[in-house]
């Protein structure tokens, strides 16, 4: 079905307003967009790793989730949802549940790349019919901007603070989408917040309606942790894509597909400059760090082009 922005935006909200997420939070936009990809007649159970999204949307006695929802702990969203999905299969077989249910879980990069990695890996390998959505804001934002394995190189975080002897995080970010693709699941995609959200919406729709396990890795800027001007979120996301820092791709049944190739690849500085967490890279004497950064972005981009050319 062709993407119709008006139609999509007129679908009922499944994450109700009144939650306590920050204004301009990327994660919230991810959740709302993904949920819109559900057919209105389909029921859903939403899972959630501990994090900003959980503590801000389900503060007793209020919930912002229109669908059934379960938060268990920080590190086990994958396993928890696999239990729910299996229960659905069992109860459907016994005729105790008759409606169609879909299973979607949201986790930040902390709950997904790091502490919840084993639980996610197990759920993906077992190929439960579920979608795991990582809203990747590149640090443990809920506890106050500590580095994660998703944090980009040289980012200034509260556990990799920039100082006289430090230029921020020394390691590159883990390429989680690629790791999950290596689990041989039917569908993996990387996306972010762009224009009408067509890219994310369509990937969410495919993820939800592809039988078996699916993983969406969605870059979701955090104005607090990234320190950019909050209304600029869409600009930041576009720059991430145009610099090839955050490429858009899918892995469908093992086949890598590049969704977008910039006509003119922008220098990585364009993505880094508006963000306070990288301000130190623009001080005189740090030109070499920027050159290294560019080289790493280029290396990863070439690797992706190679994967997608096969």
């Amino acid at each position: 079905m062709a993407f119709n922005f008006k139609e999509v935006m007129n679908k009922p909200e499944r994450l109700a307003p009144g939650h306590r997420m920050c204004a301009g939070c990327g994660g919230t936009i991810v959740a709302r967009t993904v949920l819109r990809a559900l057919k209105p007649e389909d029921k859903a159970v939403i899972g959630n790793a501990t994090g900003c999204m959980e503590v801000s949307t389900f503060m007793y006695p209020y919930t912002a989730w229109e669908d059934s929802y379960m938060h268990n702990a920080f590190e086990n969203a994958g396993a928890t949802l696999s239990g729910i999905e299996t229960a659905y299969n069992a109860l459907k077989k016994k005729g105790k549940v008759t409606e169609n249910y879909k299973f979607i879980t949201f986790g930040g990069d902390g709950g997904t790349y790091d502490i919840g990695f084993q639980s996610l890996s197990g759920a993906m390998e077992r190929n439960h019919d579920m979608v795991y959505v990582c809203y990747d804001n590149g640090a443990y934002m809920n506890t106050g901007i500590q580095r994660s394995s998703a944090t980009p190189m040289y980012a200034d975080t509260t556990t990799t603070p920039v100082g006289s002897q430090s230029v921020g995080k020394m390691q590159n970010r883990k390429d989680l989408a690629s790791i999950i693709a290596s689990h041989d699941v039917p569908y993996v995609a990387q996306s972010t917040l762009l224009g009408t959200m067509k890219d994310l919406y369509e990937k969410a729709e495919k993820a939800i309606y592809t039988p078996g396990a699916a993983f969406l890795n969605v870059m979701a800027p955090c104005p607090r942790g990234w320190r950019y001007d909050t209304p600029d979120i869409m600009k930041i996301c576009k720059l991430a894509v145009e610099t090839c820092y955050w490429p858009l791709f899918e892995v469908v049944e093992g086949k890598w597909i590049l969704n977008y190739e910039p006509k003119k690849k922008l220098p990585i500085e364009d993505f880094l400059r508006p963000q306070g967490r990288f301000a130190h890279l623009f001080k005189p004497g740090n030109e070499e760090l920027l050159a290294q950064y560019q080289a790493e972005v280029d290396r990863r981009w070439e690797d992706l082009l190679f994967k997608c050319s096969r």
Partner: protein, 393 residues
Amino acid sequence: MSIRERMSGNEAVAYAIKQINPDVMPAFPITPSTEIPQMVSTFIANGEIDTEFIPVESEHSSMSATMGASAAGARALTATSSCGLAYMWELLYVAASDRLPLVLALVNRALTGPININCDHSDSMSARDAGWIQIYAENNQEAYDNFIQSFRISEHPDVMLPFMACQDGFITSHAVENIELIETDKVKAFVGDYNPENYLLNAEMPMAVGPYATSPFYMETKMNQRLAMKNAKKVILDVAAEFEKISGRKYGFFEEYKLDDAEIAIVIMGSAAGTTKDAIDALRAKGIKAGLLKIRVFRPFPGEEIAEALKNVKAVAILDRAESFSACGGPVGSEVKAAMFDTGVNVKAVNYFYGIGGRDYTVESATSVFEDLMKIADGSMEPENFKYVGLRK
């Protein structure tokens, strides 16, 4: 007619699972509980039950998936031992506060380290404050009988708490004994169908589980868990009374063996009770009034009832198969003594550690404890705070 069989404790629990035919079982192998998920997988592979088995990648995930399945509206269970239970630790608390009526077949094993695969109660004792019902079996028959009763207690609307059905690793889990099984149709009728009031897959009424609760709400959650645990006392006895009707076997919070007129008594839990009974029989033959109180239900703790049952003895030994490293005593010892203090029962009491990491507990071990008790009772020996049974010299 009930079925006479020979089975190990693990087989007995697996057989109970087969008869109950629960909806979902996630599990991860760990000695000595591994046979339970293996046997259930075989029942499934042979089409004997239609339980959905999830071969998870860790115990952390087996508990997480069991919780998800239970919240979704399924009758769900898992099995583990020792480090497996420890790996679930955070979730044990969450399962209790989420009021999920799920069952864990725990085959007790020492909690590392050094690494040891043999029986003691350090795994379940470490989880005693997690908000779970804990019931312990002396033998294979009790492991089977307790398991059949587990879902009825856990799922009761006045309870809605997770249930740990404990048996001693290897001693009962792997030893084959005679057992009397109940016919499957009777078991099914007794356990009944599971139709929860609230569940995730209820299309009429969505449900949200696992909120963030701030200080103005959190404490009431804990108070309600305590109330549920209190309610469980009545439900455990009601279910036991009903179970007696289909099995002829009587269960309560604890078993008293020759305790009525006893002057000296041992309080113990699990398989060592059988050994202690043999020692008592031999002492009774010599005219020594020895008795036993075997705790079956540790959570909720039947403190008043235990103190009442012990009030007429002259000296009591409380035997712990787990350390708590308070340097004052073990978990069962501390709770029994506290219960006696609360109820004004002033009996000389001594706390022993025995069977740690599978150390043998023999009839001679029990007899040596009774010999100490005789001296304490006649005043020729002062009760020590705690002692060891069978410690290498």
